[in-house]
């Protein structure tokens, strides 16, 4: 017989489902879970300096690796810090599993004026795919399995699980066989294969695309990332149609000549670039999100849109068919694969779109354009295996404009419209998940200050594969708002810092800096 407890059962369930990293700040109620993680050879806790960063780190880890991970915070006081970070997972379609302990099961809902008690499951319900409470230790593996299935299948998104402290500590005396029966093998319960397109709709789409001379592809929802049909990127490159990526799918065709038409943000903010849509005769939407929807809305103002072919893995995300609109149920990668043969590659059109975007990006870079030499100096050190995280709208546009031809593994555009300053914790999560890649965080000063504390986390984790570049770093003007000496602050936290040329750009790293 084995003496176990709810926390250990929960951790074993997570490990069996492939979870390796838990981003978390500990609370006493999680004691049994932490102890179990400490004894597990394949799991690790990554500790930020605030729960607000934990979920953002989890986003960076999952988005860049495609692997599930957990963001965990203690009851009440800890978990409420996570809201904005978990919202990023919701808005960016990332399958992050959020777990939090609760007060004793017999003192909650309604709570009895417990310390730190609040209705956490209700708090997270509006922006998670699944929010549940584990009332029995033996049900925890089933709930973990269900939670991850919800998180990963159809259109991905975060899920939340509350587990009362008495359940986490409750002694479970089980035989080996009884314990094994608790756990569900993930391969049997989580479908992540292809969803082939509905043949009728696909045929119609094929006909329409076949006739198009000036097609555009709009990719959103995180399609093409490691979390979702990574192969889509190479399919798009093969097709050689200009591809506009929303921030959720940014970088999936990065630097592909004649294909990468840059981030949707550029078109959103540049009327000149937006004129491209006047010429397009067919738009293929692969995974719609708020940013791509906004672009389509803008494109259709005052006139009829060209044909729109819209592919979704979840048929409920499609609109009803209408004149000029062809909804196709199927995973966008499989749908696009079926359309490949229809595409007539128009080089001139592709170049026109990509050039318009590049020009607009450069003009939107604002005062970051003055840091052109910084970007030029950075480009040679970026390898094909590396990742770029751009934080802030100017940083995103400048990255698109000045590093748009620098091949790398992936680019994440965090334009700050929905979540502010996520770049540093996101980049840390990506650095943890990709130890063989170098992560370049290009961040606006204002964005960097949101989670500045995590510079200490980067030092503590020894993340020598992370370089922070702040083109508009303030270098001390006493009395002026925001004029802290960023270099000194980061150096105080243990980073190696260097002013690029005469400033204001700043490069910071853990240990020896990359040659920039």
């Amino acid at each position: 017989m084995e003496i176990s407890n709810g926390g250990e059962i929960l951790v074993t369930a997570l490990a069996r489902q492939g979870v390796k990293k838990v981003f978390s700040i500990i609370g006493g109620q999680m004691g049994t879970m932490y102890d179990a993680i400490g004894r597990h050879p394949d799991m690790e806790v990554i500790t930020p300096r605030s729960e607000a960063s934990a979920a953002l780190m989890a986003c960076g880890y999952t988005a860049s690796t495609g692997e599930p991970c957990v963001s965990m915070a203690t009851v009440g006081a800890g978990v409420v810090y996570e809201t904005a970070g978990l919202l990023m997972a919701w808005l960016d379609y990332l399958p992050v599993l959020s777990i939090a302990p609760q007060v004793q099961s017999y003192k909650m809902k309604p709570h009895q004026e417990n310390l730190q008690a609040c209705d956490q499951d209700l708090l997270f319900a509006p922006f998670t795919k699944f929010s549940a409470i584990g009332y029995h230790a033996k049900r925890l593996p089933q709930l973990v399995d269900r939670a991850l299935r919800e998180a990963l299948c159809n259109i991905p998104g975060p899920v939340h699980l509350d587990v009362p402290v008495d359940i986490l500590f409750e002694r479970q005396v089980l035989t080996k066989a009884q314990k094994e029966r608790l756990f569900v093998p993930p391969a049997n319960t989580r479908y992540q294969g292809a969803v082939l397109p509905d043949p009728k709709a696909a045929k119609r789409a094929f006909e329409i695309l076949g006739k198009a001379k000036k097609p555009l592809v709009l990719v959103g929802q995180g399609m093409g990332r490691p979390t979702r049909h990574k192969e889509l990127g190479s399919l798009l490159v093969k097709a050689k149609i200009p591809v506009i990526t929303s921030s959720k799918s940014s970088g999936i065709v990065w630097a592909a000549k004649g294909v990468d038409a840059g981030p949707a943000l550029v078109f959103e903010q540049s009327p000149t670039a937006m004129r491209i849509f006047n010429d397009a005769d067919c738009i293929v939407v692969l995974g719609k999100d708020a940013q791509s929807a906004k672009l389509l809305e803008k494109a259709s103002l005052g006139k009829t849109l060209p044909f729109v072919i819209h592919a979704e893995i979840d048929p409920k995300a499609l609109d009803a068919p209408s004149k000029g609109y062809v909804p196709v149920w199927g995973d966008p990668a499989s749908v696009f694969s079926s359309l490949l043969q229809a595409v007539a590659q128009e080089k001139a059109w592709a170049e026109k779109v990509c050039n318009a975007s590049a020009r607009a990006a450069a003009s939107l870079a604002g005062d970051f354009a003055q840091s052109r030499s910084l970007f030029d100096a950075t480009a040679p050190s970026i390898g094909a295996n590396d990742l770029i995280v751009a934080d802030g709208p100017k940083a995103c546009c400048a990255t698109a404009a000045f590093l748009g031809t620098t091949p790398c593994q992936g680019v994440f555009m965090l334009d700050g419209q929905e979540i502010a300053g996520a770049g540093l914790p996101f980049a840390i999560g990506a650095a943890v998940g990709n130890p063989n890649s170098h992560i370049y965080l290009i961040s606006e000063q204002r964005a960097l200050f949101h989670h500045l504390r995590e510079a200490a986390t980067a030092v503590c984790l020894g993340l020598e594969n992370l370089t922070i570049i702040c083109p508009d770093a303030q270098l001390a003007e006493p009395g002026v708002e925001g004029s802290a000496d960023t270099a000194k602050i980061l150096a105080g936290m243990g980073l190696t810092t260097r002013i690029f040329e005469k400033g204001p750009a700043l490069v910071a790293s853990v240990g020896l800096a990359r040659a920039i």
Binding site: L91, C118, A484
Partner: protein
Amino acid sequence: MARINGSQVLAQSIKALGIGRIFTVRAPGLDELVEVLEQESGAQVFFAHDEVAATLMADGFARRSRKAAAVLTGAWGRALAQVAGVTNAWADRVPLIAISLCPDVGPDNNRGWNRADFDQGAVFAPVVSWRGRVSLPEQIPKALAKAVMASRAGRMGPAHLDICPGALKASADEKVLAFLLPPADPDAVIEPARIPADSTSLNQAIALIKNAKKPLIFAGGGVKASAASQALIALAGDFGIPVATSMSGIGAIPSDSPFCIGAPSYTAGETFHAAIREADVVLAVGAAFSGLEGFGLPPIWGAYIAFIHVDNDPLVFGVNVSPQVCVFGDVRTVLEQLYQAFSKSGFSAPAAWKAWHEYLMRLKKGRKKRLDDFAKKNWAKPHQGRLALAVGRFMIEQDAIMVIDGGNTPLYAASYAPGLAPDQAFFPFGMAALGGGVPYAVGVALAARGRRVMLVTGDGSFLYAVQELETIRRLNLPVTIFVNNDSAWNMIKAMQDSFFECRYVGTCIPETDYAKIAKGFGIPAMRVTKAAQMDKALEFAAGQSGPVLVDCVTDCKNLPDSLLSFTLVEFEGSLTQLDPKKVLKSLWMNRSMGLARSRHMADYVRKAILGINPRQKRGL
């Protein structure tokens, strides 16, 4: 009639409602609105670097000043970043106004691809007194007025208002402002309604108290919210009734007052435990019997206590304890009514009360001596108690206000704090949240107008909002920061020591020089590694008119003894489930904590938890 836009309607509404301070963060979509508010609302606008910090600053300001304060942020993640601070305000009944932008389109309840149109307001629902959403400028005045009223009525708490950007851009007839009353004074203190107790319950309470042999007043945060300290001190002092406070009630009566049993809650150790175990009648005023104090239930509280519960929220009655008498009314008014009734009847404390009081004072004296002696031992690194004593001394000399942050640090700070005034110590006890220290210090300093604010923080919590050191420096706020730097999330590390075979996972913090970090922000700072340096550090800190930081390196092997009591309550029913063999092994592995520390904790178990105090009981 002239037309004005929604931003102007909001500005005029804020002015009319007397919301004098707005805390915000520069953000796209918000800058234009903030400019209008700065010009037309009459409110002072303060900028933080981060929305979490802005909310905590507003909360800190509201707690210290008891005046109206609001936080204003953008939508989505910026709005949800408010939740942490709003939850603190909700748990501690602070009437904070939380305003955020929200998507123009209503929530998409079908939750397809459109993740952006989620129900933002619903996220706040579990942690606010009221919430609303406006999509037209005409709706703003009434909604904001309702938010303000709901936050202050009955059980106070935060109110949240979502405003669509469309409502701010659209124009409305100026007559929409006619709804509002003439501008309220933004410096008016928020007063609760002074509802008196009815005579029946009052008389029942009086009869119960008069017949008591060992009465105790248990004062919660409601005493401070009602500005009832003087009334409490008068009742306790003139009629000889000992007073214990909850953690939220810290400072409701100065701990060095002859009728206060000492530090708040379990930090008063054996005195508090004896008081709540042996009292026969407990007059609970503005206290919710929360989990932090064991819910008012046995075995920690006496099984035969007759409770008299005074509160202005009837929903609090009977949640945990079953009071013999429920007195609905404003705490200060009821205390004054009780005082008058006792005075009129010529009541004076019987001999039994005097003996009871003297017994508790013996325990109090013994505890203080034991704690002080222990802190002042010749430890290799400064003991946290030594730091707390030094900080207490600094507080008196500088007439400073204390903001506390951390896990063990609040326990130390409370255990050793000198007698405090009601508005002199701040920590979000309801949620016991980490990380609010720096932004709370900003809010409290702004409310305290030039008076020195002292932040006593653990190292685990200090970095949460470290970016706001720039705000402190920019505004040149007189904030002195003492960091209890034990390189650990020590409250939980202690748990791993005691129950999990010293397997440290996620509880060790690498050695960090916080003085260096502070200097990076342009804040003078000093590091203390030996007890002998403490006096010099205080001198250094006292010599700075603006912000300053002292990083005090302490030993993580030290633990506040009252942590044992908190653990018993917090983990009720859980710790006994652990494998006893592993627990014994853990305790054996942990023997390196040393004889002195082990004896200190054993003393606490004996005197406080088991109540074995023969000398004090015999009057020695």
